[in-house]
Symmetry: D2
Amino acid sequence: MLKAAILGGSGYAGSELLRLLLSHPHVEVTAVTSERSAGTKIVDSFLHLRNTDLKFEPLDLKTLKEKADLFFLCLPHKTSQEAVAALHKAGKKVVDFSADYRIKNVKVYQDWYNTSHNFPALLKKAVYGLPEIYRKQIKKASIIANPGCYPTSAILALAPVIGKDFIDADSIIVDSKSGTSGAGRSPAQPLMFCEVNESVKAYAVTTHRHTPEIEQELSAISKKKIKIIFTPHLMPIDRGILSTIYIRLKKKVNLPGVQKLYNEFYKDEPFVRVLNNGVYPTTKAVKGTNFCDLSVFHDKRTQSLIVVSAIDNLLKGASGAAVQNMNIMCGFGETAGLLASPPSP
Amino acid sequence: MLKAAILGGSGYAGSELLRLLLSHPHVEVTAVTSERSAGTKIVDSFLHLRNTDLKFEPLDLKTLKEKADLFFLCLPHKTSQEAVAALHKAGKKVVDFSADYRIKNVKVYQDWYNTSHNFPALLKKAVYGLPEIYRKQIKKASIIANPGCYPTSAILALAPVIGKDFIDADSIIVDSKSGTSGAGRSPAQPLMFCEVNESVKAYAVTTHRHTPEIEQELSAISKKKIKIIFTPHLMPIDRGILSTIYIRLKKKVNLPGVQKLYNEFYKDEPFVRVLNNGVYPTTKAVKGTNFCDLSVFHDKRTQSLIVVSAIDNLLKGASGAAVQNMNIMCGFGETAGLLASPPSP
Amino acid sequence: MLKAAILGGSGYAGSELLRLLLSHPHVEVTAVTSERSAGTKIVDSFLHLRNTDLKFEPLDLKTLKEKADLFFLCLPHKTSQEAVAALHKAGKKVVDFSADYRIKNVKVYQDWYNTSHNFPALLKKAVYGLPEIYRKQIKKASIIANPGCYPTSAILALAPVIGKDFIDADSIIVDSKSGTSGAGRSPAQPLMFCEVNESVKAYAVTTHRHTPEIEQELSAISKKKIKIIFTPHLMPIDRGILSTIYIRLKKKVNLPGVQKLYNEFYKDEPFVRVLNNGVYPTTKAVKGTNFCDLSVFHDKRTQSLIVVSAIDNLLKGASGAAVQNMNIMCGFGETAGLLASPPSP
Amino acid sequence: MLKAAILGGSGYAGSELLRLLLSHPHVEVTAVTSERSAGTKIVDSFLHLRNTDLKFEPLDLKTLKEKADLFFLCLPHKTSQEAVAALHKAGKKVVDFSADYRIKNVKVYQDWYNTSHNFPALLKKAVYGLPEIYRKQIKKASIIANPGCYPTSAILALAPVIGKDFIDADSIIVDSKSGTSGAGRSPAQPLMFCEVNESVKAYAVTTHRHTPEIEQELSAISKKKIKIIFTPHLMPIDRGILSTIYIRLKKKVNLPGVQKLYNEFYKDEPFVRVLNNGVYPTTKAVKGTNFCDLSVFHDKRTQSLIVVSAIDNLLKGASGAAVQNMNIMCGFGETAGLLASPPSP
């Protein structure tokens, strides 16, 4: 059994991660930290997690280092930089949920996150944890930069066609709709029930920090510099991201041909499902799962492709992906602990 | 007092229209029809409408013609064609909620609605009821084709810039998110609470019938043939449409300049509010109102404008617009009966 | 025009009150206070209130006293005690939303609110602002203790029968379900969207402070000491209270007879609607209105009455009631500004 | 591996049952029927169930009998009567979700269900499938009458005290709040999103068919004839039942003593959790689980107990209970396939 610890376990990503790990066949959770709740039982914060006696403990790396071999870090940006470095130095495997080790270009990181990066050497070692693209590298990695939720929904939708010459790579628009759990668990008036309920809005238009992350990965896959428009929206649902992605065509294509590309690209992927022609992804159908559902449409009138993707932002968009990455890094079955069908509706 | 009748009053648009008319200073509602509910009191179907003793009556045009001078038609497509013609012949004013008199090109109508148009002469007479564009014509009209909900949210967001040479008119994408009342009140499994709640999905991708309506009006304003991509989405809220609209720029612009265009264009409009820089429209802020909130963003990185608009699909997107059109046609104050601030949250 | 001010206007009750007053035919709002938001425009906090240029101002009684003749106080308990006294001394009319002047027995107030009452003489002058019971006294009052939301839903449901000898007055149970706006607008984790959504729970079982308020009024009407069980619940809706009330019978009754009692009791009331036999009150049918819908059921099997009441907690349960009280105090028509039908759904 | 079939699998209970069985360690699902959807793949109706290639088949008992050893029947009342009899005659084990074999008194069944019972001998053989009360009988049973959702939430909350002399057994009131999935998946206007959302209502007051079921079981446990008041309410959530239960005391008790009774009663139960003093059950904490959370309160002022229970209506209230019953009948571990922690929020 692998000993694993969760640093920063009082939020929604942390609690979902703990839930997955508690029923994982090859993992023993040895520590979960929370500054605010240190000393209290986890079940008191998360009534639905009743199969554990663990208590939250303070974030004391010295003590924690003795307790586990793999660390999941659900810490704020910047805080993660140091913690990853310290744990790596101690020979530990790390899966980092922050953006600190995702953006490979230090300048881009500084521009979008308004802070410097103090571990550029480590940054090079870190692998972007999207198994559908980097499975080989993840196998050998010791630091995983776990992808952002929006980027996962966008990159998986675009990967099969982004390098193709029939698309206009400068035309890409990602319009994403997210559930509210993506905004975290800290109290804030805009996240209160009466503010979110019965409302839909865009936010961070032109400025969301997941933009350079999506661009970095699309550029890497296609081997050309890609810029996108990315607009996130807040929805009155607990969880889920639906991304509607627009791509202009430079050459004529037919839909069956494009669908075949998608089917081929993902034919061995355990967690990506390309839906049949005309079937629509919904956040409800992936809620509680590590799946990404994809559907491709062809608009002949405007010579465009429209790709719709759905993921659960807390699972394939965060904690599920983290477990998938751990499975690959540690040589477990890639789907271990991740295939339970979700309750529905 | 103007005598007005509502044909097809058992749905959400009909009931909202009735609500508005019941408190309108210059209107008396003399008849509301419903085939299913004929003979029953309206309050039995709509518990919130307690200030009326009206009963639903059957759709018998012969009898109805005697009862009113202006008719609001909330009837299915195709059914409306005949009814509009009959009422027009009888010298009545008509506000038609269907698409039958919106699409000016009979061929386009046939292609998208799979039915022929039998009154092409009347079609020419009908005025597209968007006061911000056609106020003058509405004043003299006897047939109003009341705009679709999505088109209103898109056209108002685009009108100030669609004819400008600094935008690429071939690049327009309208990504719209709608509340469920837009799908009507007839029972259907996909509209059941447990199917819609906690879910977000796209639908009718590349095929929604509001597409040619948006294109017709954008083409008319800009005097060039415009094709757009339009994608509607279903949200778990009762009402509201948020449209996020993407426009590529052909020339450099600055945001204050574009915002000034919007402010100028709408400076005398009672129901369009251009929000200050950085303020986001939300469906909740326009819920229960006839307002359209707009906000413009400039993405320098991709040389694009992003315009976000919010309306209440049942008001500015349907019944509120109908009352506004009636006010203009009949020489009432344009805002009569339409300025009540809504309850919130 | 009556000059009115709102002290504590940044919450949901304050904003709903402002909305009602802005469209009231006999009132001019001259000041709205908010400590946190002083100096900012109200529309910046409440995007839906666009028909005012008012700014929030600080709570400086000295300045405020010059500005208005009637004051609505939406202040915390205890703070209100002093403010009411100061305004009363200055000859102003006051409608107090807090509980400070509701509970007539100082000892009871101290037991449930954990604080002393420093103005027992004023307490005697204050009138409990439930027009259906105290209309005469409200007419002559200068201090109105505006009722709590739960008490309004309970007292109106019980008033017609509470003094009757056929009921067991010791058997009363009030099981209430409230929307989340009742819990206020201050950020708190239990009120976050992801905590409230898709959840139903009881809270403050046996300890809710509205209990003695309900008991006081039922005792006053029936002229005997009444104790009740009151259990509030939190629902994932914005607004509304549904109270289900259980009363054991001491003598046989028949339903038509009891319904007649209710119809008689409320026959002249503009804001209480006794529904027909078998029609169920819903929070949606009263949302956005000042109405209370009531329905009475007779369980022959257990010799009981079950009364279901529905109100909008922010209107008949708070700000609508306050306007109704003002209307009565000031000699306006009792329904002035309160009869707009609400948008629905 | 046990071969199991689901008759009536196109509703929410059926799909949840299938989900549980597909991941059950000792079961192979060999058939799922649906008259409407016969011939189509199950995943086409339930997008979230992707780990099966099963198709719906028609309800042809002759064919089906060959396919399985245990049958779950999610059929309408009355239809079940015959099907249970036929399968029992063929030597099959049956878990029946309908009420047909729950009500032991044929007269009571006829009164509440308006139909006769044609298999009174079988009715005697059938065991009421509440393991916390009837575990021994379930072990030997061949026909299980799977309990109703409301009854489970009420009986588990009352079982520890119903036979005690310190309570007034004639005073019991069960006020239940249910999610909308309890109303089934067949389209109906009152269950449309826009009707249910933002609304709370009572229904079937004094007439709900679960009333005699609760009474039968409470009477059986306490060995006296018990009548209760039961009021169900519809909530705008997908799933969950919260029951608030009122019991008058005949003798003085103290809360720790009563809580000890509950803890003792359920100390070996895998699926009932008695919460600590002051902790509130929520539907969200049991959503997606087979657990029942209970909390007991003592109202000294009115000499009453208030017990609050929370279950997931589709799991402990239906399909989870069915699997638990199967586990017991078939000698599997009682918790097999039922302990997965649910996604949350």
